[in-house]
Symmetry: C2
C-alpha cells in the first residue's frame, strides 16, 4: 500500500490520548486528516458536536471525532470506513475483533490485526518472541496455585505474577516473595476468576533499555538504544543514547529489528529490554505503537517516532533516526495533584536553550498521571541529565 | 500578560491558512486549544458542524471553528470572547476594527491593534520605519497622475507603483518604465477610484534578505538573516543563513530588532530587506506574523518561528533561534495544476536524510498557489541547495 497524500486522506486513531495526539501532529505536517474513535458511546455516527463533555487529547485537535467503545464492532467498522488507514495507541482491544473490522470495512489497519494478535497477551507475546529466538525472561502460564509452586521451584523467589492482558505501568503486576503469598497474589489478579496470568522470573538487572523500530515494505529504521528509568513502575526518565557499551546497544537494536520482523510489524514498534547483571539483553515488553520511551525523538532525532509511525502506515519510507545532538534526556511530567490540569513552574524551562515542553491537553490532573514531558538536548550527558531533572522538578501540573 | 497554560487556554486565529495551521501545531505541543475564525458567514455562532464545505488548513485540525468575515465586527467580538488571546495570519483587516474588537471583547490581541495600525498600509509602514531611522526604499504617496510625474522626476525610471493596502505576492504591484505608462498603471491599481497608492524607487539589489524577530516583555529573540529568492514576485527559495558577509547579516538583524521595537511589536514579526548593489540594507516589507521566509526554522532552528509566535503572545520567553545544522534551504511547493490537491513525486524526498515535507491541506491546487514546502538541512550549502532544488522539482501538487 502506498496511499495517495491528499487533503482528504484520513488516518483513524483507535484511542485519543497523548500518543494519538503526538502522532496526529506528524500527520498534520503532511496535510492530511486525523479522526479519533474514542470515549463513551452515544447514539450517533456523526462526529460529535461541540458539547460540554471533556475532550480527550486528540479530540481537542481534530474536527473528526467519533465516540465509541473498542467492543462495539459495528460502530468500529463504520468508523473505519471513514478512514484510509486505521491505527491504534493502546492495546486494550481484541485482536479478533480488529481483524473482523478490517475485513468488513475494507480499510487497512496498521499494526495489522495479525501482528496485533501475536502480542495480544503477555503469554502470546512471549511465546512469539521465544519461538523467534529472541531472549526473553523465563515465564510460565499460571492457571492455578500449583503452577505457582512449580514456577517457584524452577526459578525461586521473588518472581512476578502478571495479568496476561490489560496491564500497564505496573498495574496488573504483583511481586511474589514467598509461598505464603501465592494465594493472595493469584486472587488479587483474578486468577481464581479465570483471568489469564503468567509468572515471570525476577531478573536482577543493571538497566532497562528500549528501542523503537519503524518498518514497512519500503524499509526498516531502528532508533538509538535508550535507557529508561522507572519509578513505581512508571517511566520517569529516558536517556538517549543509553550510556552502555557499543556492542550492547547494537545487540539491543538487532534484537528489536528481529522482533519486529518476527511479527511482520508494519508501523512503529517499541521494545523494552533488561540489561541483566551478567550483561545479557532480555526482551521484557513490546508495544505495537509509538511509546513513551521514544518521546525524546521529537526533538532528539531527524525524524520522530510519531512521524515515522505515520510514514510507515502510509506506505512511505521511514526517515532517518539519527540524533540531532549527542544526548537527549526526557523526563515525564506526572500529575502532582488531583485537580483540573494547569501548568505551573515552567518559567526556568522557557529560558533554557534546547529544553522543550510537551503538555498533552488532559483536562484533569491526577497524582502520577502522565500529563506531559520535557526533553533536553545537549553535548554532555551529566549536564543534560542535571538540567532535565531540575527543570522537570520545577514544573507542577 | 502571562497566561496560564491549561487545557482550556484557547488561541484564536483570524484566518485559517497555512500560517495559522503551522502556528496551531506549536500551540498543540503546549496542550492548549486553537480556534479558527475564517471563511464565509453563516448565521450561527456555534462552531460549524461537519458539513461538506471544504475546510481550510487550520479548520481541518481544530474542532473549534467559527465562520465569519473580517468586516463583521459583532461576530469577531463574539469570537474573541471565546479565546484567551487572538492573533492573525494575514493583514487583510482593519486596524481600527481590531482595536474596537479587542476593547469590546476584553481579550488581548497580538499583534496589538496599535502595532497593526502602524503597518496597516504600505504608506503608514514606510512612514513608521522612516521616522524610526530604519533605512527604507525612497517612496511617495501617489494621489494623482502629477504625483507620478514628480516621483519620476526625483527618482527616474523604472519605479514601482503599489497598492498601499491589500497587496501580496506581487499582486497590487506595477512596474512603471516610462511616462506613457503612468495613466494605465494608475488606473490598473484603482488610483482613479481613490485607492491609496504609493510609488517606490526601483533599487538595484544583489539579494533579498529576511529576518524574523520574536518579542514580548520578557525578551527578544532574532533569527539568523536568511536570503529569499523570488520568482514572479513569489518566494521560491530561502537560504539560511544568507551567504553574505557577517557585518551585513548583523546589520539586517539589528535593523529587524529596531523595527520591531519601533512598533512595540509583541509576537513574531518578519522583515524583508534589499541588499543593494552598493552594499546597503534597506527595509522593503514587514509582516506582523510568522512569514514564509521563516518556514525553515521548523526543522532548522532550536525553536521555530511558529513556536516563538505562540510563546510570545502567551507571555512566555521566546526560545533559542540557534540553527540545528550549518545550513537550511527551504523551497516552496507551488501548485503545478488546477485540480483537487494531491501530492505526487515525493518518493525521493522520503528516502533523503534531513529533508522534510510540509503540505498545508488546501483542498484545491492552483498554478502558483502555495501548497506546501520542503526544508533540507546540511553542512555544505551547495549540496543542500542542489538537493533541495532537485527534491522540490520532483514534487507535483
Amino acid at each position: 500500500m502506498n496511499l495517495l497524500l491528499s487533503p482528504d486522506t484520513t488516518i483513524g486513531f483507535l484511542g485519543a490520548g497523548q500518543l494519538a495526539r503526538m502522532s496526529a501532529t506528524a500527520a498534520y505536517q503532511l496535510g492530511i486528516r486525523t479522526a479519533a474513535y474514542s470515549g463513551t458511546y452515544v447514539d450517533s455516527m456523526e462526529p460529535s458536536s461541540n458539547d460540554n463533555k471533556p475532550l480527550q487529547p486528540l479530540e481537542l485537535m481534530t474536527p473528526f471525532r467519533y465516540p465509541g467503545t473498542f467492543e462495539d464492532e459495528d460502530r468500529l467498522i463504520r468508523f473505519a470506513r471513514t478512514c484510509d488507514v486505521v491505527t491504534l495507541e493502546n492495546e486494550f482491544m481484541d485482536g479478533e475483533l480488529l481483524g473482523r473490522a478490517e475485513r468488513a470495512s475494507g480499510t487497512t489497519f496498521y499494526p495489522s490485526p495479525a501482528t496485533f494478535r501475536q502480542l495480544e497477551s503477555k503469554l502470546l507475546e512471549k511465546d512469539t518472541f521465544r519461538r523467534a529466538g529472541i531472549p526473553v525472561t523465563p515465564y510460565q502460564q499460571v492457571s492455578d496455585i500449583r503452577d505457582l509452586e512449580t514456577f517457584a521451584g524452577d526459578h525461586g523467589y521473588p518472581f512476578v505474577l502478571k495479568s496476561s492482558k490489560g496491564g500497564y505501568d505496573g498495574y496488573g503486576n504483583v511481586t511474589v516473595s514467598s509461598p505464603e503469598e501465592h494465594v493472595a497474589a493469584f486472587r488479587s489478579l483474578g486468577g481464581d476468576q479465570g483471568h489469564e496470568l503468567i509468572a515471570e522470573a525476577f531478573i536482577p538487572f543493571q538497566k532497562e533499555l528500549a528501542v523503537q523500530v519503524a518498518r514497512n515494505r519500503t524499509g526498516t529504521v531502528v532508533y538509538p538504544c535508550c535507557e529508561t528509568i522507572q519509578e513505581n513502575h512508571i517511566c520517569q526518565t529516558v536517556i538517549a543514547p543509553a550510556p552502555i557499551a557499543k556492542n550492547l546497544t547494537e545487540e539491543a537494536c538487532n534484537l528489536a529489528v528481529a522482533a519486529t520482523e518476527a511479527i511482520d510489524g508494519i508501523g512503529l514498534f517499541a521494545f523494552e529490554f533488561f540489561l541483566t547483571d551478567d550483561e545479557k539483553i532480555l526482551l521484557n515488553e513490546s508495544a505495537p505503537r509509538p511509546h513513551n520511551s521514544g518521546h525524546y525523538t521529537i526533538e532528539g532525532c531527524v525524524t520522530s517516532q510519531f512521524e515515522n509511525h505515520i510514514r510507515t502506515i502510509l506506505g512511505l519510507n521511514p526517515g532517518s533516526s539519527q540524533m540531532r545532538r549527542p544526548y537527549a534526556v526526557m523526563e515525564n511530567l506526572l500529575g502532582r495533584h488531583n485537580r483540573p490540569a494547569r501548568v505551573e513552574g515552567a518559567e526556568e524551562l522557557w529560558s533554557t536553550s534546547d529544553a522543550h515542553l510537551h503538555i498533552y491537553g488532559k483536562q484533569s490532573s491526577r497524582v502520577g498521571r502522565k500529563m506531559g514531558h520535557i526533553t533536553v538536548l545537549g553535548d554532555r550527558l551529566e549536564d543534560v541529565r542535571r538540567e532535565a531533572a531540575r527543570l522537570a522538578d520545577a514544573v507542577v501540573i
